[in-house]
């Protein structure tokens, strides 16, 4: 074993040096306070990026290194089993990954950390949280190693490797976004998932390693099945995510080219088309769309933007808003997300961990600050009770130094003003002892139409909703909100303009009068040739999705609430809500045709009945992506039948001593 390690020492040491130095520079760059004191760990997303790239490179290189240097046979031709060779290499790599996770953090703890001014309040236990969050590095390494070990060509290995890594990344980020789910919020579950995925990928890698890389032999036995299933699931998830995003782009293109609803100079609502530069307008569909005249309120002229119901894929929407940098930070949310809820002069910061019902005030040391650094466990009321685990932050836009929390277990509201030096939450009751139910954002004006060079504005305000009414924060306490604003907002938001049919590409909208009468209605749809072409692209992307997921989409798996995180990717909005049965039928038909083609091809190649059935069912459920995977894994080359020549047919012509 020592000898096997020594032969790889060169490149292992290279990875060891770079993989340790770069994270070390990153965390030293963030500083001691960001890593060990402030609990909002999502901020150190660069560290997670490094923890991704390193294992990815290590896994890929580790898997193909002997192949690149063409020393596989030199290594194998000695009395050492393949299992041992594999185990030593993988074991060394896994140890390296764990070292990458632990060593830079340990270094910062031991050296700069011990002498830092804020060392007394450092949360050293966070070390284990970091290691847990970093366990994704094991899966990343194993996925890359697995892809590199596959018995397929270089391009196929790269594509499959990218799909597996993408599967890990998107899957866990979406899981992190949905951390309202208790089970998903457990660091233990997250680590266990990563360990399980690591084991699965390495088992597949070993199977391929043990069978050897021979493109003229089929993958057989357990390795064949396990490889197909593992890659199939990863590929479906990754491909569906990509398909969903492309489909969303096509859908947005359809929506952007739909006619606009505007109010003309005479106060009538009209449907107009806008040219590509937004310069000219032309009336369209007026004869069958306009039901009557409608006047916007005088203080709010203009048309209506429809964007609020365009993007309702929650997971993707949030991911897109966050940006890639924040995605990596999300991995630190597993095990409890700490959220900053108030700040005073940069060194007094209040954090909430709603999962654990904890509110901590961090007073950090700085040159301007008097006194010693401290962490205060903030509790509520004169009895210093702890918050329940069902606690919610109330956003107050007016101030940043007041923390206001609602404890949903009893409907009470609590506030803590850091500028006053308070270290306990005081009650902030609603007028009349009302019970807190939630917050609501009211729109105070219509969105103005977007014209060339002119942006729309949205005027909104957040109100606390109680069982008896709405309330507004006046700077020190809550008071009843003016009725007219609520009425105005309700009228704007719910009464005048109503989306009567929520559909990704064919929504129906109505404008109603004061008495509720319909003044204007329009159902968008694919009427013109251009619209039909754009719509066909959207439908085409649906055909690429897995039939199993399409059935689930059609069958009513809800896209909301947010906790159903996977729905954002896997559920097709075109089918959701039992819409477009024909599209589901077309998708299933594609699956059937592909399965039949695959069965015919596999039968010609001479695959066993069981294996043909496996692929047929897999393609029926997985669709186009699984059909492609089948083509990559089950090649004609691997099943080519040799034309056997009898040994005595053509003997050598000169037989020394035998002739």
């Amino acid at each position: 074993m020592k000898a096997l390690l020594k032969k790889d020492a060169n490149w292992l040491l290279f990875f060891l040096a770079f993989g340790t130095a770069i994270p070390l520079f990153v965390i030293l760059g963030y500083g001691f306070r960001a890593v060990w004191v402030d609990p909002s760990m999502g901020g150190i997303s660069d560290l997670m990026i490094v923890w991704w790239i390193g294992p990815l490179a290590l896994g890929a290189f580790g898997a193909i290194r002997d192949e690149l240097t063409r020393t596989e046979e030199y290594l194998r031709h000695r009395p050492i089993s393949r299992r041992k060779i594999f185990n030593v290499k993988v074991g060394a790599c896994l140890a390296l990954v764990v070292f990458w996770l632990a060593a830079p953090l340990a270094f910062q703890m031991l050296f700069p950390g011990l002498w830092d001014r804020n060392a007394p309040i450092a949360q050293w236990g966070r070390f284990w949280h970091y290691l847990g969050a970093g366990s994704i590095a094991l899966s990343v390494f194993a996925a890359a190693f697995c892809a590199g070990s596959l018995r397929v060509g270089w391009i196929q290995r790269i594509v499959i490797g990218a799909a597996l890594e993408f599967f890990l990344f998107v899957g866990f980020v979406q899981l992190a976004i949905s951390l309202d789910e208790r089970w998903a919020n457990s660091l233990g579950v997250y680590v266990a998932l990563n360990v399980a995925l690591t084991a699965l990928f390495l088992v597949v890698a070993y199977g391929n390693h043990a069978q050897g890389r021979d493109p003229d032999r089929p993958m057989v036995g357990k390795t064949g099945w396990l490889t197909a299933v593992t890659l199939g699931v990863g590929l479906i998830f990754s491909a569906t995510f990509v398909i969903a995003q492309i489909q969303e782009e096509f859908r947005m293109d359809v929506i952007h080219h739909y006619p606009w609803i505007v109010e003309d100079s005479e106060g009538a609502i009209r449907l107009i088309t806008v040219d590509s530069e937004g310069q000219t307008y032309a009336e369209c569909d007026a004869e069958h769309s306009v039901k009557g005249a409608f006047h916007f309120p005088e203080d709010d002229p203009g048309g209506r933007s429809l964007t609020q119901w365009w993007t309702y894929q929650p997971g993707w929407d949030e991911m897109r808003e966050m940006g890639y940098h924040s995605w990596f930070g999300k991995f630190f949310d597993f095990g409890g997300r700490w959220e900053r809820i108030a700040t005073f002069e940069h060194n007094k910061r209040c954090y909430l961990n709603s999962t654990k019902g904890l509110v901590h005030l961090y007073k950090t040391k700085s040159p301007r600050m008097e006194g010693e650094p401290a962490v205060v466990d903030l509790r509520k009321g004169p009895k210093a009770e702890r918050f329940s685990t069902d606690v919610e932050r109330i956003w107050l836009e007016e101030t940043d130094h007041v923390a206001v929390l609602a404890d949903l277990s009893d409907g009470t509201i609590w506030k803590c003003d850091l500028s006053e030096g308070e270290e306990r939450f005081e009650s902030a009751p609603l007028p009349g002892g009302d019970r807190y139910l939630g917050c609501k954002t009211y729109e105070l004006a219509q969105n103005r139409i977007v014209r060339n060079g002119q942006t729309y504005e949205r005027v909104k305000r957040t109100y606390v909703i109680g069982s008896k009414g709405a309330y507004v924060w006046n700077g020190t306490s809550f008071e009843t909100a003016p009725d007219e604003i609520i009425a105005h907002s309700a009228a704007l938001g719910e009464r005048f303009f109503v989306v009567t049919r929520v559909d990704p590409i064919a929504p129906a909208v109505e404008f109603r009068g004061d008495g509720g009468e319909i003044l204007f209605s329009h159902r968008y749809g694919l009427f013109t040739g251009a619209q039909k072409f754009r719509g066909a692209l959207v439908y085409f992307m649906s055909l690429l999705r897995a039939p199993l997921l399409q059935i689930a989409s059609f069958g009513g798996v809800s896209q909301k609430p947010r906790a159903t995180f996977l729905c954002a990717t896997l559920i097709d909005p075109l089918l959701n809500g039992r819409n477009r049965l024909w599209l589901l039928g077309a998708n299933l038909l594609v699956g059937v045709i592909l399965a039949l083609c695959a069965v015919k091809r596999l039968a010609q190649m001479g695959l066993s009945k069981g294996r043909r059935l496996f692929w047929a069912l897999s393609i029926l459920l997985g669709g186009v992506m699984v059909a492609l995977l089948c083509a990559v894994l089950e090649t004609r080359r691997a099943y080519r039948v040799t034309r056997v020549i009898a040994a005595d047919d053509v003997p050598p012509l000169l037989i020394g001593g035998k002739a």
């Binding site: 020592k2 000898a3 096997l4 020594k6 032969k7 060169n10 490149w11 240097t69 063409r70 020393t71 046979e73 030199y74 194998r76 031709h77 000695r78 009395p79 050492i80 089993s81 050897g212 021979d214 493109p215 003229d216 032999r217 080359r637 080519r640 040799t642 034309r643 056997v644 020549i645 009898a646 040994a647 047919d649 053509v650 050598p652 012509l653 000169l654 037989i655 020394g656 001593g657 035998k658 002739a659």
Partner: protein
């Protein structure tokens, strides 16, 4: 007597290309067997199948009585192997490579390897990546031999070795092993080495063994003659007429350019049993003959043609005669095969 190496009707293809088509031969203990063939004829594939690195599509290969597809790790210590290109870990120093071999192969004689390395003038501290191709070949051979193998498989071991090294080092090593009862199977492109070292020769062509013979038999049973047909025999040669020959003038001869001479092209190639190949020359044909006897000689001489005294062909001559394609793209053997 049990054979050290057996190929029994082994077939193997890569994609649509049939590389081995019924390869059948065996190697006795202590025998040195040279596997010859043109590039792509399947030599390396045969050796990789024998060592279990590739699976045959049909047939079976055994080494030391063990099926090549079921060689247990411990049995590999009995087999020495030098891969094509002498692949070693380039980042290792020679002394580290010796230590690696010693740690991973129980039969490896470390002191022997260290001694041999010194005798070859290699510095133990030198990195393998900095060695020349020949030095790397020496090191590979030392490593293979130091394991005291019962069977030694060399894939083109002489590649990169200069003449001196081939004569002194490779020959000595193989002879030593053979004397100790070790079977040696090696492929090579350097036919003079093969003539010197091998007990038996197999020539692979298009995935099949077309020749399997001992060197002694080959020399005995193959002869080379020059056959001059009667009309050419009576004609005055340029030399006799005092004219400058193309060779003497430094010009390319038609034969050298691969063109048929008018004389040869105008005559019919002699047909006789035991004729392996007839190569047209300026005034006649070079004939490579198998098992030539007086009766066949009489057939050739009939009609007034003249036939030179037999010359002993080199292995290279024979190899060329067997593996060189004629105009139809077939080797002489393949042509005879199809005719029969």
């Amino acid at each position: 007597m049990s054979r050290s190496i057996v190929f029994d009707n082994v077939h193997r293809h890569f994609g649509a290309l049939d590389v081995l088509r019924g390869l059948t031969f065996d190697v006795a203990p202590g025998e040195v067997f040279a596997l010859l063939g043109r590039n792509g004829s399947g030599k390396t594939t045969a050796l990789r199948i024998l060592l279990g690195f590739l699976a045959p599509m049909h047939g079976r290969a055994t080494i030391l009585g063990i099926d090549s597809q079921a060689i247990a790790p411990v049995e590999r210590d009995r087999i020495g192997y030098v891969a094509e290109g002498h692949r070693l870990y380039a980042s290792m120093r020679i002394k580290d490579a010796i230590a690696f071999e010693s740690d991973t192969r129980p039969r490896f004689r470390r002191s022997y390897a260290e001694h041999a390395v010194r005798r070859c003038g290699l510095s133990p501290a030198k990195r393998i990546g900095l060695l020349s191709r020949g030095q790397r070949a020496q090191l590979s051979l030392i490593f293979a031999v130091a394991g005291e193998p019962e069977v030694l498989i060399f894939d083109d071991p002489a590649m990169g070795l200069d003449v001196v090294m081939r004569r002194e080092f490779l020959d000595a090593m193989i002879e030593l092993l053979s004397d100790q009862g070790c079977s040696v199977l090696f492929s090579s492109h350097i036919l003079t080495d093969v003539e010197r070292i091998a007990d038996r020769v197999g020539i692979l062509d298009e995935g099949r063994l077309v020749v399997d013979a001992t060197m002694v038999d080959l020399r005995k049973r193959v002869e080379k003659r020059f056959w001059e047909p009667p009309e050419a025999a009576g004609r005055e040669t340029p030399e006799a007429a005092g004219r400058e020959t193309p060779e003497a003038a430094g010009r390319e001869t038609p034969e050298a350019a691969g063109r048929e001479t008018p004389e040869a092209g105008g005559r019919e190639t002699p047909h006789v049993d035991g004729l392996l190949r007839a190569r047209p020359r300026r005034r006649g044909f070079d004939l490579t003959l198998l098992d030539f006897d007086a009766e066949r000689e009489a057939v050739l001489r009939s009609g007034g043609a003249s036939l030179s005294e037999p010359a002993v062909p080199t292995l290279e001559d024979l190899f060329l005669d067997i593996t060189t394609r004629n105009e139809g793209g077939a080797t002489p053997l393949r042509q005879r095969e199809s005719q029969s």
